[in-house]
């Protein structure tokens, strides 16, 4: 791939996903590009790129799937889960609510470890859970990982931070290396495709009490981070919270949110509805 081809490809990925790939990631980009060319039987950059641009047989989706980084595991940064049950949800239920449904969005959810972790954590650690209907939704731009999330089959690495008790309670071992999440849990969480930088797609998911948006903004540049932040702002109920990954900070992205420092985590809040003055 020459300079110009590399640049055009990166530009295409950026426009479609917000993800930025620089010269430093050239090997990563070339590897994935080679895979897609092989899979589609393309013999040159030009013929593959033409196919991509006219989206022959849904190639754009396959292409994006190939470029995402899907690393995730159960109970990742569980201090934020602690914060969810100790601080965020108690604050969300302080005010009288129009209904008993609490909505939580894991976006991006990758292969499902994050939304399932939220579910397990709340069942285990939030005594009030039974008094509410808790709706947890997982979404991602990568349609492959969403299929995996729905299937709910996990390897050893994904479970490394869960205790043996939790594994015994919520999983069934299928072979020496794999565990399947119990049906009850799998069926209680929905998964859907979403592109964080497309407002029409994020809006379709409705308004949430809490959003987990972890470990994706690191792949974006400032402009796409800001677009994602603005989109998610619209998906929060007034007073709703957003949790980012540990190396991500909203303060550097957008002044839209208020910073809340709780004992277990720093999170960001959409201010209550304000009127002028």
């Amino acid at each position: 791939m020459n300079e110009d081809e590399f640049r055009r490809l990166c530009e295409f990925i950026y426009r479609r996903t917000g993800m930025v790939f620089t010269e430093a990631k050239r090997y990563y980009v070339e590897r994935r590009m080679a895979d897609r060319m092989l899979a589609t039987g393309s013999t040159s950059f030009a013929s593959y790129f033409a196919r991509l641009r006219s989206d022959v047989r849904g190639e754009v989706e396959q292409f994006i799937n190939a470029f995402t980084v899907n690393e995730t595991y159960f109970y990742r940064e569980d201090h934020q889960l602690q914060c969810l049950s100790a601080d965020l949800l108690p604050r969300r239920i302080l005010r009288p609510r129009a209904n008993k449904t609490i909505r939580i969005w894991s976006v991006p959810c990758s292969t499902g470890e994050e939304p399932y972790s939220i579910a397990i954590w709340l069942l285990e650690n939030w005594p009030q859970a039974d008094a509410y209907e808790i709706e947890i939704l997982g979404s991602d731009i990568d349609t492959r990982v969403l299929d995996a999330a729905r299937a709910g089959l996990f390897g050893r690495r994904a479970l490394m931070r869960l205790s043996a008790d939790l594994i015994a309670k919520y999983f069934e071992q299928t072979d020496a290396e794999h565990w399947r999440l119990i049906d009850d849990l799998r069926q209680s969480i929905s998964f859907s495709p979403v592109n964080l930088v497309e407002a029409a797609e994020t809006r379709a998911h409705g308004a949430f009490d809490v959003i987990f948006c972890r470990n994706v903004l690191i792949y974006f540049d400032d402009a796409s981070r800001r677009t994602a932040a603005e989109n998610l702002y619209e998906n929060l109920l007034p007073g709703g919270f957003i949790c980012l990954g540990h190396s991500e900070s909203m303060s550097r992205i957008s002044p839209l949110f208020d910073v809340c420092r709780y004992s277990d985590a720093i999170v960001y809040q959409r201010p209550m509805e304000r009127a002028d003055g």
Partner: protein, 208 residues
């Protein structure tokens, strides 16, 4: 199990009609103005409406979404609006405009910069120095050196030296040396010149 699945109601999208958005932009609810401003950026005629709205907009979130939207879309019309705002009486509008301009592609501003650096208002010249920081080193060096040669306002001189210290090339050295004589009586400027000269020489040496 308290976990449920439901079909959800989408968040309201902003109106798709410019007239309705214009009304929403005058709403007493900041969230409504915020959403309208966000939507207007991509609409024909939107930037002009937003520019007019900025003058009376008191909410920093609404202001921010306008500035970041103008920076993101990076149109000549947006750039012209921001350049105009560099003359605003309102300091927060000036700095918002400056940040948004700095976030635009450098080549959008390159053509406008010389004229700003010749502006009769020293505050505008000062802000223009900040914008020069984002230019390629060679262009910025030339612009800053030219300005320094004719500038009498100490604040603006200090700004040019600061930019030169950060990204200046060796072509600036003769001008800096001449101004060292000119500002010999101002310890502050003399010091700033010394730093700029030192930095440029160090960069030069390490580049060899």
């Amino acid at each position: 199990m308290p976990l449920v699945r439901k079909s959800t109601a989408a968040v309201d999208a902003p109106p798709a009609d410019v007239e309705e958005l214009k009304t929403a932009l005058a709403s007493s609810r900041p969230d409504e103005r915020w959403q309208a401003a966000r939507a207007l950026i991509d609409m024909p005629g939107g930037i002009a409406l937003l520019g007019a709205g900025l003058a009376t907009e008191a909410d920093i979130r609404v202001r921010e979404v306008i500035f970041s939207g103008i920076a993101r879309t990076a149109t000549p019309e947006g750039a012209a609006l921001l350049l105009q705002l560099l003359r605003s009486e309102d300091a927060s509008l000036r700095s918002g405009a400056l940040d948004a301009l700095a976030a635009m592609p450098a080549d959008m501003l390159a053509g406008r910069l010389p004229e700003l650096l010749y502006d009769e208002d020293p505050d505008v010249r000062l802000l223009a120095c900040e914008l020069a920081r984002g230019m390629p080193s060679e262009d910025a060096t030339q612009l800053m050196a030219d300005l320094l040669e004719r500038e009498s306002e100490p604040n603006v001189c200090a700004a040019t030296m600061d930019v030169l210290a950060e990204i200046g090339g060796p072509q600036a050295l003769p001008v800096l040396q001449r101004s060292a004589e000119r500002f010999a009586s101002s310890p502050f400027l003399a010091f700033a010149i010394e730093i700029a000269v030192k930095r440029i020489k160090t960069t030069l040496d390490s580049g060899r």
